[in-house]
Amino acid sequence: MRTKFRYVAAAFGLTASLALAGCAAAAPEASDSIVIDTAFTLETSDPGRNYVPTGYMVSKALYETLLDFAGSDESTPVEGLASYESNDDATVFTFTLKDGRVFSDGSAITADDVVFSLNRVAGMTESKANFLMNGITVTKIDDMTVELSTETPSLKLPALMTNPSLAILNSALVIENGGTTDDSDAAEAFLNETSAGSGPYILDTVNFESQVVLTENENYNGDEDIDFTRVVIRNVSEAATQKINLEGDDSQVAVDLSGDQVASLSDGINVFSTPSAQTIFLLINQSEEVGGVTSNPDFANAVRYALDYPALLELAGAGSEQATGVIPPSFLGALENGVDQELDVAAASLEASGYDGESITLEYPNDYPVGGVSFTPLAERIQSQLADAGITIELAPAPFTTQIDSYVNGTEAFSIWFWGPDYADSANFLPFSAGQKVGLRAGWTAEQDTDVVNLAAAAENATNFDERETAFSNFAEALQQRGPFVPLIVPGSNIATASYIDGVAYNSTWTMDIAELQAK
């Protein structure tokens, strides 16, 4: 019998040493390959069909857009592939392509590529990014100039043109592989294997479940100079695992770390903490049959003044700030400061709302941390704070996929949700208005508050810069007073990198531009 054990023992010894060998292979020196860990939300690498963060990060590296942003400043778009002027009532925008720029296969970028790329997104009604092109008509002026026009004034158009979904594709190559400008387009399969853009990287391999590999685009002649020739973006859904991988030097960039995790990072790791553009808010349904007592405006006020915001902020950790309104801090028209807890106002409003102690269900997605803030602890703290103020709350978490259904159909009486801009412009937050998309989800119809509706219209159709700014801040102020939403937290974006990496600039759409990463 004893001989039996020698075999078994030897077997274990062997595998242990193998593990060591395996680990030594990834020794921590600054190679020109970089690994980025993020929780994948990746369904396609066809920019025209993409509408999710990881997809934007990949498209940003593979493709270029007409306009761009400098670093993390998202207030004014700068030149990308083209420069632009607009007429005075902001309905016609003329884009002139920079000359000499080429795609990854060496062919020149022309106006035809721009017209094809934009019309393709406009034509593909089943693409989730389709709505970006609503109301915009594209006309070619000459080989290097294209004109975009809208019926109503659209100061947000330049910001739209920075969105990677409207990236400029190599039209010849895409058409050759089944690309069209309507729903019959079949280029997605091709674009899921090879990239047809002009960005600093080209697509090497992609597996939507596990990882995407980008390699340097030799023919790139833009002004980004990249330090990493091979980029691996890996799907690591657990933020905790991302942290371990980063500290174990198994990865070089961790994108979704939470505030708490960043606080306890070991030294020798850089952290780039800035408020993101997401806003986590409470939704209080205004329709009688959906919410019952919640439809009484006083109830919303009671909740608004009962909450202890600093105690909620504590859960979000580094980089996060208290939300001052529906417009996040770095955007046009954001308010200076948010609401403070006033228990007596809360008690009075609760009394006025006719609430008689019945239990209200707080619904929220429990598997979708936003900016590292997971909703479960947040909901539990809200529950206990409202309990202290006399409102009994029962929690009903559900996976994102089931919860989004009742959110979109406006059947949630009381819930936690979040809203992030689709493109970097305050126009993104007008849907919060009464009768608009998000407003309707809270049962807030236009008739209930015509004043707010007018404020929103004023912001939408402003034709000059200052007029637009005051219109947006008035809109935000009105929502803070009588809107069915209680903005809570703007979570921080905490991107952590290995010590030798710099150049991380947060962006609300594509999170960070991989091309700007440098090795110190």
Partner: protein, 353 residues
């Protein structure tokens, strides 16, 4: 997680092996049909609206997109018709498009299944080796201290919550000791080997990529260790009982009377005699392993069947859930079928009735 091992499999000497296997194949196909009905029913019983989930907020409110989506996926037809489409699709290998990954479920699973089977096979081999060693030791030294120790160890093994063990071991071996590599099937700096079997270790060997092989093996260590802990507990207990029964058999005493002892008696006579019941439990252990993968893969970010099942179930991805149900059913039934086949090979009384 493991349910109690079934009574030792009774084999009927009268029906020749082929008849026996054909009948088993028949029931397996019937069962598989039942599996598709169960998963289809479950998948459609689901409260949430997967379409809104799949399209996401922005697009979901755009009626044109929703309309196109429903038409294209044929979700507007009555359920029985959808089921028939699904089954007829199956025969051409089309398992529908996953609502979550927007990829054909068949291609998703073709990547996910090998990842899980690679862990399960290695775990079974390790557990069988250790289980047989410990089980035989416990049986040989029945009643003595080593028997009691083995029993306590295997009972503890059976009591460990796999998901917790995965977390603790990942934290301890990876973060503290740094002797285990990070999560995932391969260090990200390495490209996966050219797919032949789908098993990274085997494919790397076939392609002669030594670094990839050692790295893939290193990444297998922790998940296999965690899953083996439980399986060893299961196998050791069963091997001990089977070996005990065989040790009392006349032919083993006859073997001793011939002067045979040690490994020659253990492997030649004892384990050969106990191989049939042990085979049954290995088939069963494979089932509990599949269960375990759901919990372990989430922690190790392992892109296998377990995490695919979890993601499909929680995100109400109907085709995904059905695909998983089908594949799991097929894997499960193939294993049981293989066990029957091996029964014939190992037991001449069944083969040459």
């Amino acid at each position: 997680m493991g349910n109690t091992p079934r009574a030792t499999r009774r084999y009927s000497a009268r029906s020749p092996l082929v008849g026996y296997l054909l009948r088993r194949l028949g029931t397996s196909v019937l069962l598989l049909f039942g599996v598709t009905i169960v998963t289809f029913a479950l998948a459609n019983l689901v409260p949430g609206d997967p379409i809104a989930a799949a399209l996401g907020e922005g697009a979901a409110s755009n009626p044109a997109t929703v309309e196109a989506y429903i038409k294209e996926r044929g979700l507007d037809q009555p359920l029985p018709v959808q089921y028939v489409n699904y089954i007829s699709g199956l025969f051409q290998g089309d398992m529908g498009i996953s609502l979550r990954t927007a990829q054909p479920v068949a291609s998703d699973l073709s990547k996910a299944v090998p990842a899980t089977v690679e862990i399960a096979l290695l775990a079974i081999v390790v557990s069988l080796g250790v289980g047989v060693a410990l089980g035989s030791l416990a049986a040989y030294r029945r009643g003595k201290i080593s028997d009691q120790l083995v029993r306590v160890f295997s009972l503890i093994g059976l009591s460990i919550p796999t998901f917790w063990m995965a977390l603790v071991s990942f934290n301890f071996f990876f973060l503290q000791l740094r002797i285990a590599p990070g999560s995932g099937r391969l260090s990200p700096a390495l490209a996966p080997p050219p797919t032949v079997t789908g098993f990274y270790t085997v494919d790397a060997l076939l392609a002669g990529q030594w670094v990839t092989f050692t790295d893939a093996l290193a990444h297998l260590m922790l998940p296999v260790f965690v899953l083996s802990l439980f399986t060893i507990g299961l196998l050791t207990r069963f091997v001990r009982t089977s070996v005990l029964e065989v040790l009392d058999a006349d032919y083993v005493r006859a073997g001793r009377a011939k002067g045979l002892s040690g490994p020659r008696l253990l492997f030649g006579y004892v384990l050969r005699g106990a191989s049939l019941p042990i085979l049954t439990i290995v088939g069963l252990a494979f089932g509990t392993l599949l269960s375990g993968t759901v919990l372990v893969e989430a922690v190790f970010a392992w892109p296998g069947l377990g995490s695919y099942a979890y993601n499909s179930a929680t995100s109400l991805d109907l085709p995904g859930v059905m695909g998983v149900g089908l594949v799991v059913g097929v894997v499960y039934l193939t294993i049981n079928f293989a066990v029957d086949l091996l029964y014939g090979v190992l037991d001449p009384r069944v083969r040459l009735a």
